[in-house]
């Protein structure tokens, strides 16, 4: 394996302005109550949260792709993408999969229970810069959750964008996230193509991996932007398919994941190469991070 040639010093993006995180006291947490819990797929549920302080609730804004730290005192914090509509910040949704102590404890909470929030943090999908473009949103499994705010944004500003395609897949039909919204998205002008690895008796859709759905698209590379989130192997092949269709490296955007402990760029856990995933990411362009994505253990 050859080493990547080092790029010029990367101009990594700083996070978008966060409205409820105090720069001088960024550990400050805000109380929030669980307003509803929607079971989505096995092991995954969407929590609707209501910030308790009306002033904080009124101020809260997020950009698509950003995340909150959901905090259960005594157990810890977990970085969870915000999966609701950025134009409707009063409805705050987090789709959570149980993977560790904090998410497991969260899964034991009920409606009306309190947790604490810090955020929003991180870089965002560059939806404003991509106005006038055709978009390909490629998601896998629970990776659709950080992508859904893009879809809501596009639907709210449909005439700002050209062709918009959602390519989405999961292991099995029961694992498809937000399946009850696909028709509404189609009606709103998003081309939704869905695939599974393994069908069931009722499944009449595609079988295969998400990157294979690219073959159905006729893309004009100069005006195409790609947003992807999902298992690493899926993102690699989405990138491969995008590059094979002459999309520019700087027009492919992905989210990266690392151990997130402080979300402030202080603890050092989330570093990948020069980037702090929490503050320079989690959204990056492929061009920014490609020198650091080839080595699994970097």
């Amino acid at each position: 394996m050859t080493s990547a040639a080092a790029p010029p010093i990367a101009q990594l993006p700083l996070p978008a302005a966060a409205s409820t995180v105090d720069r001088l006291n960024p550990w400050d947490v805000h109380g929030a109550r669980i307003r509803s819990i929607k079971p989505e797929t096995p092991g995954i549920a969407t929590y609707e949260l209501q910030l308790e302080n009306p002033e904080v609730a009124a101020r809260f804004r997020f950009q698509p792709g950003q995340f909150n730290m959901l905090y259960l005192p005594g157990i810890g914090e977990s970085a969870i993408s915000i999966s609701s509509d950025p134009d409707r910040p009063e409805t705050l949704l987090h789709t959570v999969r149980v993977v560790g102590n904090v998410t497991r404890a969260l899964a034991r909470l009920g409606i009306g229970d309190q947790l604490l929030i810090r955020g929003p943090f991180g870089s965002s999908w560059p939806v404003a810069e991509c106005r006038g473009c055709d978009l390909v949103i490629a998601g896998g499994g629970v990776g659709l959750a950080p992508l859904r705010p893009i879809i809501y944004h596009v639907i709210n500003h449909r005439s700002d964008y050209g062709d918009v395609h959602l390519l989405y897949g999961s292991r099995r039909p029961a694992d498809l996230l937000y399946a009850d919204e696909f028709d509404a998205w189609r009606k709103a002008g998003v081309n939704v193509a869905v695939t599974v690895d393994l069908g069931d008796d009722a499944w009449r859709g595609h079988i295969g991996v998400v990157p294979a759905l690219f073959s159905r698209l006729k893309l004009q590379p100069a005006r195409t932007r790609i947003f992807t989130c999902g298992p690493e192997i899926m993102m690699r092949f989405v990138i491969f398919e995008s590059l094979a269709r002459h999309t520019a490296l700087g027009h492919i955007y992905l989210t990266l994941e690392r151990n997130m402990n402080c979300a402030l760029g202080f603890c050092g856990h989330c570093q990948l190469g020069p980037a702090f995933i929490c503050k320079n990411g989690p959204v990056f362009s492929y061009e920014q991070m490609s020198p650091y994505l080839d080595l699994e253990d970097l």
Binding site: R23, W27, G74, I75, L295, D297, L298
Partner: protein
Amino acid sequence: MGEASDNSLPVGTWVWIEKTDLQEVIDRLRQRGYRTIGPRVDQAAVVYDDIRSVSQLPVGMVDEQDGGRYRLREDEQAGYFDYVVGPHSLKSFTFAPRETLQQLDRKDGAWQTSDAPEPAEPVAVIGVRSCDLHALAIQDRIFLEGPYVDPAYQARRERLFVVAVNCRRAAATCFCHSMNTGPAVGGGFDLALTELEDRFAVEVGSDRGGEVLSGMACTACTEPEVDAAREVPKALERAMHAREIEPRSPDEPRPRSLDTEGIRELLLGNLTHPRWQEVAERCLSCTNCTLVCPTCFCSSVHEVSDLTGDHVQRERTWSSCFVQEHSWLSSGPVRSSTASRYRQWLTHKLATWIDQFGVSGCVGCGRCITWCPVGIDITEEVAAIRETSP
């Protein structure tokens, strides 16, 4: 802490004080409420500890440092500060090894955050070297100048008084001359001492420093005297550059230096160099290097709860990229091999740190070399990669 009075010495003033008058400086700091810390011998090393009297200073001691080796010995020629840096730096005074960030209490099912913890007590550290001043400035960039400010670091930083010392001797493991971080003290201090034969030349570096000396019986240095004092660390710097080519006995440790030419591109262009595997065979992943490094800043935030679960403290402790859990994702650590973790530490310290903070993360203090139990030497590792880089 201490407003400039009429007697305060202006910034940039140089005065002479008798060596024994260092006691008065300590006393004045204590009168102003500072906890006074200085170099002392403990467990056969020079460490920072509480100090009340100049008699507690390691006068007449020098240190010998090499890879994985530290020895103190007495030397008749040595003065008050002729040892260099020990395992301690300023780091623990501003970036505390254990810090309570928040106190949370649950009442009637709702969590409340308590009042912020007591502000840190003021601390005056005597004997700070140029490398450590540069490290402090680097940590200021990390904790104060980014998108977020760390309130605990900020509180301690504001209450830190620095009495710096211009080195007149370097250990073999020192390479500040390669990193442009010394030996001459540049800025960022309150008072700076240069030890000469029979007295200290003291430079005032801040209003606070000038105030501490106000009213003290001391004569001003003449311009030639200031030049002579400035020359002391400059002469050492020249000697450090010259020592690599000077003949030395095989008993003496090899003097270190680091070629920083193109070092970022060198390291980032060699991420699969076989040297990483080679150093991994020696590295114990013991985290000593990150503990003694004055710029390392990794930490972990965790919960400390009482038995009821209703009273929680969020605590931040020093961590290290050498522990597996540092890069833990749900499927296990990203950096499961020692080689990948050593590579992370070295490439961060010398390469990607520059992307992040605009300067190198290394100040050439040499502590990682001395305190590595197996004597791994970052200057040697970089040289090895440079030599065999494709």
